[in-house]
Amino acid sequence: MIQLASYLTAGILVLVGLFAVIFKDNLIKKVMGLVFISDGVNLVLISMGYRVDGIIPILTPEMDAQTFASLAAYPLTMALVLTAIVIAVSTTTLILGLIIRLYQHEKSLSVEKIWGGK
């Protein structure tokens, strides 16, 4: 149930993000849309690793390996999401930096005004 709810939330995040990227005229709102998409995809990955009544996937010396294997959440997706977050931060920062440069030149954040509707 929790997994289904998080998949639904992720789907809504991706759709809202796509809507913002495609239909919003303001560049900052487009970037917010990109962040929504990225968060939605990360939530899908995290939800994939979810296990009902699971434990954090850290194997301590006192823990039995068999018990750990049967209870621990899937750690690989968490590693992927960590990397994806770092990449998303880098690309979002780069886009925002370029948007600042664009705003300084064009005095507008409107796609319509900057690109003339292209």
């Binding site: 560049l27 998409i37 995809v41 990397t83 690309t91 370029l98 030149h105 900057i114």
Partner: protein, 488 residues
């Protein structure tokens, strides 16, 4: 066979880029980058063919078992691709050093990061590692474009990054779906799983969705239809030597990505026709847009996209001959297109513009450069004895071999349109009488040297295609399979 030196091909360029960054503004930067660039070119010869495993990954493990190890594989085709990539980056560096008196260590480091990221994309057998280095390649390409400092380059980069962010997130979603279904990120494992699944693939909606999303990502990263105008705007906004290198990175990423798609989804009957349709779109729209351009750089940019369609078309056909033709055309294309971009930089350097209406008469001042550029124009048009003729002939044979003469016809028509566009460009830049005052700078010797090397290689591969094909054919034969549904 386990080969310990394979990671050096990625690690060494990353170290060099850090050093160049630290050396920004210091003395001996030129000497350092030229020396280290030569070492990078020599690196592919040092590693043995085989694979390198990080973290002791057990191949063949599947079904949600923990398999975090990344695997790099190295074969003859990858060796050739990395060698050509490094060579063209080196020539771009030479051209940059010749055209700019105060070289920037930061800019040079991004050129080298481009080599590292594209090399990792070529080598990796891990689909998430592939995604990570695709993102790094995207950032390095953007950095090279915005380095020009023009508002046009900022506009092109913002557009490229926004669309790229969406596309790459969808690729990440596809990777997640594959992981959920297969339980591994290793491409060889995924390939084995898909082969075992056979026609059962068609009943798995998550894998079908993953195939669609990955093809979307491929079209974006390769600048295929419908992303051809965004990609060509990036090429057109960069300094020409950087545009030559960026399009080289793009072509080898296109090839590596297509090989992954063919390996994973070869059993899905709709994947190759869909890839072929996108390739044809890029080929046709690219050349049509090129014919309409009044700016030399933008004209070359659209041709870069159009020729990407040929490369993707050969790979999409997917037979051994088609794959070999596609990879061979990628090698040929990056050579003559880089020559054309460096030739364009000579014109920009001399005349301070690439607008056709303000150019003309260059044949009087630089006849030798004009002759070399004309050679590159013949190569892109598929005229013998240049290399473009050999690979285009192979592409035509591949299309005819799967019973699709209409694809071969489109390839011929696009080639004729390419020739017309190239001759128009040559007339406007070199032959047409120039209007107004003539104030022109001398040509940097570095550019002439780069042109001689590139056009020389175009002739060499045109006369002796086996020099490249002997590296490509073993991989193409191993990877190729008949066209889905057989030959009509």
């Amino acid at each position: 066979m386990e080969s310990q030196l394979i990671p050096i091909l990625v690690v060494f360029p990353i170290i060099v880029s850090v050093i160049l960054n630290l050396m920004h503004g210091k003395n001996h930067l030129r000497l350092l980058v030229l020396a280290l660039g030569l070492v990078i070119i020599a690196l592919p010869f040092t590693a043995d063919y085989g694979l390198h495993t990080f973290g002791g990954h057990l191949r063949g493990v599947s079904a949600r078992s923990l398999a975090p190890g990344i695997v790099y594989t190295f074969n003859s085709q990858k060796m050739l691709s990395i060698l050509v990539l490094s060579l063209i980056c080196y020539l771009a560096i030479i051209a940059y050093l010749g055209a700019f008196r105060q070289p920037s260590g930061v800019y040079l480091s991004f050129l080298i990061v481009g080599i590292a990221s594209a090399t990792a994309v070529i080598l990796t057998d891990d689909i998430f590692n592939f995604y990570v280095f695709m993102e790094i390649a995207l950032i390095s390409q953007t950095a090279l474009v915005i380095a020009t400092g023009t508002i046009q380059s900022v506009k092109a980069s913002v557009k490229y990054l926004i669309v790229g962010n969406v596309a790459m997130n969808l690729v990440l979603l596809a990777i997640g779906l594959i992981l959920a279904s297969v339980g591994s990120l290793n491409i060889s494992d995924i390939q084995r799983y898909m082969t075992a699944l056979g026609d059962g693939f068609l009943t798995q909606p998550t894998l079908l969705l993953a195939a669609g999303l990955l093809i979307f990502g491929w079209a974006y990263s390769s600048g295929l239809f419908p992303f051809h105008s965004i990609k060509s705007e990036m090429y057109g906004s960069a300094e020409p030597h950087a545009a030559g290198f960026i399009q080289t990175m793009t072509k080898f990423i296109l090839v590596s990505y297509a090989i992954i798609l063919l390996r994973i989804f070869s059993g899905v009957p709709t994947v190759r026709p869909l890839m072929l349709a996108l390739s044809m779109g890029a080929m046709i729209f690219g050349v049509v847009m090129a014919l309409r351009q009044d700016d030399y750089r933008r004209l070359l940019s659209f041709h870069a996209v159009s020729q990407a369609g040929y490369v993707a078309g050969g790979l999409s056909i997917g037979t051994p001959l088609g794959i070999a033709a596609g990879i061979f055309h990628a090698v040929n294309h990056v050579l003559y297109k880089s020559a054309l971009f460096i030739g364009c930089e000579v014109i920009k350097y001399r005349s301070k513009t690439t607008d056709f209406h303000k150019l003309g008469g260059a044949i009087v001042g630089i006849p030798f450069v004009g002759a070399l550029v004309l050679g590159a124009k013949f190569a892109i048009s598929g005229i013998p004895p240049f290399n473009g003729f050999q690979s285009k002939l192979m592409l035509l044979k591949a299309a005819m071999g799967v019973g699709m003469p209409e694809i071969a016809l489109v390839m011929i028509l696009v080639s004729i349109a390419t020739f017309a566009s190239m001759m128009k460009a040559f007339y406007m830049v070199y032959l047409k009488a120039k209007e107004g005052e003539v104030v022109e700078e001398p040509v940097p010797a570095t550019h002439v040297l780069a042109l001689i090397i590139l056009v020389g290689l175009c002739v060499l591969l045109g006369l002796y295609p086996d020099l490249a094909l002997r590296y490509i054919m073993p991989v193409a034969t191993n990877l190729g399979s008949p066209w889905p549904g057989g030959v009509p």
